[in-house]
Subunit: 237 residues, 6 copies
């Protein structure tokens, strides 16, 4: 059964490093994927662009949009940015409803976002809180309500850069061996971030090793790790 | 792909209430199931039998064996008891190796046991510790070793009687709707434990409700809940 | 010593299922009880009413008010609704002070609200945060202050629908055997919510069992469970 | 209702500092109290005595016995030592049954012991584990069993010397104002431990302050703090 | 290497009790220290002043400013108050940027604030959240950004009044023996708070004892304890 | 001040991957280092050697000894093995005292061992428990005792292979840039474990990145991460 996968990140590049493989895999299996960025990360994470003399914020956003769109295309996903601003990202009641509406509109089977804690980033926990709450608003209380609701999406947190400091415990490793080249290509679009390209390429190998160790399946070469928030419902163990 | 399911409990009746549905479901899908009891619970949980004048421990064990075997038969599983004694269950180095050998011999895909904490039972945490360690001994260190190893089984903890006091957080709900009658029949073999029959029948409904709420799948009527210990490895989220 | 009990819930029906017994018990012992709802739950939890053609929000609120008032009457409590809106419930600085004022005005011995986490409801954690903070504002810093303060109320969290997913660990079981019929009657007023009536009736039996198990007191038939937030002060253990 | 209070500590002086007030208070209210030490602490905590030339272990134990007995007498409690050895305290299966038997024989309403963690003491966690398990053995599984059982005692952990490093969160403050002089006298018997006398006298004041702050009851001058392990069962909140 | 130490507290007196020693010690070693109060605590903690007939809020603030400034002077630190109001302290987006700017301007090596939890104070957790987030805004994402960033300050939480209820685990004890008289003098400026003067003087002795016990260094007489939030980077263990 | 560093691991190769850099760094600063292995890992981790026809356990141990000794030599440390057996490692009372004696004899400033949890290894948690307890036995209760005691060593846990599954949170990053070549050489002695050589070489880079991010010190190229168990005692923050 092909799945609908929605990734909502604080900044426009977050999805590539942390969920690019899972997105491409779902698409390769016939699914559909949508990436939503709450901001372009234009202030906090675009320093290379600001080194250019006379740089302007609209131009930075334009470049960041193009990069993210190209990366999403490698993975088979669409890309949208709500452009809420970063450093700090601030989300009031109306913005929260806007995010809930985006979830309701796409009606994902799988919804992916940041961890609730990240001592190295002021925007990631804000994004987590909003997406978590927006998900409940879109799915409703499990009874009929005054508004349209969607089937409750499964919620996953993607891997942060320093997992142990973000209370991230991997509970699912996705085998992304068959889409590895696509993830590499998507990461390659983030031209200014060479270190992260190397880091997440190594991370893919490590998570592959972890997946082999947990499953005994020797064919897994590359993995991507996630933390599931809610119980899953299965036909058998 | 049919699965091999192994349940290891401290006392001979533990598996019925807490994993009977998951066992029957796996068997109904073509799998194989084995139940191992570390003891008969002959001292701590067989009070009704001891009310008979002149009762002797060997007779109690015999009755408990028959009940457990009949219950397992309803679920399609075999039943074995290591007869290590209860209240207190004590497991030394040799006993630990015996349990590891039982895991190695059956080579389960899915291994199920108690939670690590249970303030209302002195034997359950001991059983947990031994099974957890025996599993590592049977699966090895993930590299070739001096002894035969098996593919690492997925480890699940079944639902204790007072979940919140045992640090039990359900992470998987199994849909046991199609085998519900079998679980009722298996529980019915535990003739002296009427309260638990009622309680776990209600629990099956509650967990069915929780499963519907988490998944939006309205066809789930009865559920059984488990806590997964190690990351799962999947093809997609 | 008769006690003053105040329950503050996000939606108008929350108090019935989760604290109805404790409220009735306190009143039966000569105490006084007040229920405050932050909203009517008119959007998220009133779906049955919205099925009526031409339904309007004011009418939904009116019906929900009548139901909650009738249920509170069975328990011997008054009912007030602050009508702050639901899905999402939003509480700004002025609203926070309004809640603090309600606590100061009633001066409860016992204050009861939601858990801090609830992955299935976007409003419950918001209610928790506001009540917790409002309680501190009403009780002050433990020294004389610029405003009137009350004796610090004991703070309890009531049982959420899926306790283990809300970090709910019961630390107090209340024996509600003598007021069981009243709780059933109060729940009966929530006519559209048959499932919850059945669920919480069973839950009352289970918690009674847990209370017997923890105390050895065989006369406890029905219980209601709570999580105490702050240390209690006693004359002896 | 007068209560039976049993304190089981790893070493013969532990009960004085940490539960002396609660013991004296229970006795002052008509209860009965028994102190059991698993060892005399003759190796790890009796250094002053070993400074005497020619000191012998039997003499150290004799002196420690006399001190503990005198302290217990100030509080109105009996004192027994199982003399299992310290540094390290080791408890095998037979010793475990001996402790269970001691609990069964006294049939306490209230049972008090160490925290499960103590990075500054190798014997305290061992004592905790044994007492916790022995309690379950004495109280049984909540159903009739092959052996005599007692009404399940309430289990409390007393305050360790460095609470935050021992995961100790106070959940009950006992008002020991009326027996304060008795606790001072009992502590005074531990002649070599002047620092602890001062420390726990100050601690009594602090916990009194905490108790006033939590309850608003200004008459509490001295307190002693405990962590309750299992839910309590009450008539009302 | 002399250090720059910045303490940001919710109310104007918080820094004295909890970080006065660490501030004085840093200054005594050649460092520089700045204290910032988010409010004067004029409503919640200034009750003694409000007992004067005709008291006015501006006068309360003036007195609190003078006390805090005098205390800071004993420690060798400057004192500033952002005067955001207390009970409740409320911090919106603009205020957050103001705090970030204060951190950026001082560029501390060491930044000290409240714990994230404090059930006895509604303003302390708000202060924690703002300082934690402002620190990230000032230090940036670890890459070049659109705004000036500072070297990431080490973040410490100071000791709350009831540590175990605030999830405070000490991870660093500072030896404040050499500046003990200065801390006593600073505390002495808080004339209305005699209890806290006594309490924190005793606390200084206790933490000195804990520091001796952890390190074996007998020369430590007085200590102050902190909880480090982020990993430290060292040349060797 | 040169330091004495002692590493105690379950198997003879554990120290290389996880603490090799910290050992070499301490030695390079004038310190002394001792590595103790509780077993050779001859059964669980020596599979490559067992592939040789006619292989015998004594020969496996001999080869493992030579490798570990050579690796330790690159780091400037001595190597000893207590040879207690692996898979399973079992430690009774006498073995515990043997480990305590080894700690007492070396009197380390810094003691390093495994995490308390490791779902992928049955021996690591056993090693942790024994070393933690042996440390307390060697350091004593903080008062004079019947036996010789040493200054309490600082206790650190080294990084396990899957940190998030072992509750490992790095609290200290050691800058090992200046001894990086030595760590590479030591790892190179473990000829059969090519994967781990690559993995821990990458890990050294990642931890270097984390250390730069936490400290802002750009000169750190390679790091090794540890979790400190007990509070540190410092002259200033």
């Amino acid at each position: 059964m092909p799945k609908r996968v929605q990734v909502i990140g604080a900044h426009s590049a977050d999805f590539v490093w942390r969920a690019g493989g899972a997105v491409a895999k779902a698409v390769s299996l016939g699914g559909q994927a949508e990436v939503i960025a709450l901001s372009y990360g234009e202030r906090g994470e675009s320093g290379e662009l600001w080194k250019q003399p006379g740089q302007r914020v609209e131009n930075v956003k334009k470049i960041r949009h193009a990069e993210a769109e190209a990366a999403a295309a490698h993975l088979g996903a669409s890309f949208t940015c709500l452009d809420l601003g970063d450093y700090p990202l601030q989300i009031d009641g109306d913005r929260l409803l806007e995010i809930a509406e985006a979830i309701r509109a796409f009606a994902p089977d799988v919804l992916i976002t940041h961890t609730a804690t990240d001592p190295f980033n002021p925007d990631h926990p804000i994004a987590h809180g909003a997406v978590d709450r927006a998900r409940s608003l879109a799915a409703g209380a499990g009874v009929t309500s005054a508004f349209d609701t969607i089937k409750p999406p499964q919620l996953f947190l993607f891997e942060p850069h320093q997992p142990e400091l973000c209370s991230f415990t991997p509970t699912v490793h996705v085998d992304i061996t068959s889409v590895w080249e696509q993830k590499l290509a998507a990461m390659g679009e983030m031209k200014a971030q060479q270190y992260l390209q190397t880091y997440y390429a190594q991370r893919g190998e490590h998570r592959g090793n972890h997946a082999r160790r947990a499953s005994g399946r020797s064919e897994v070469k590359y993995g991507e790790s996630f933390m599931r928030v809610l119980p899953q419902v299965v036909g058998e163990l």
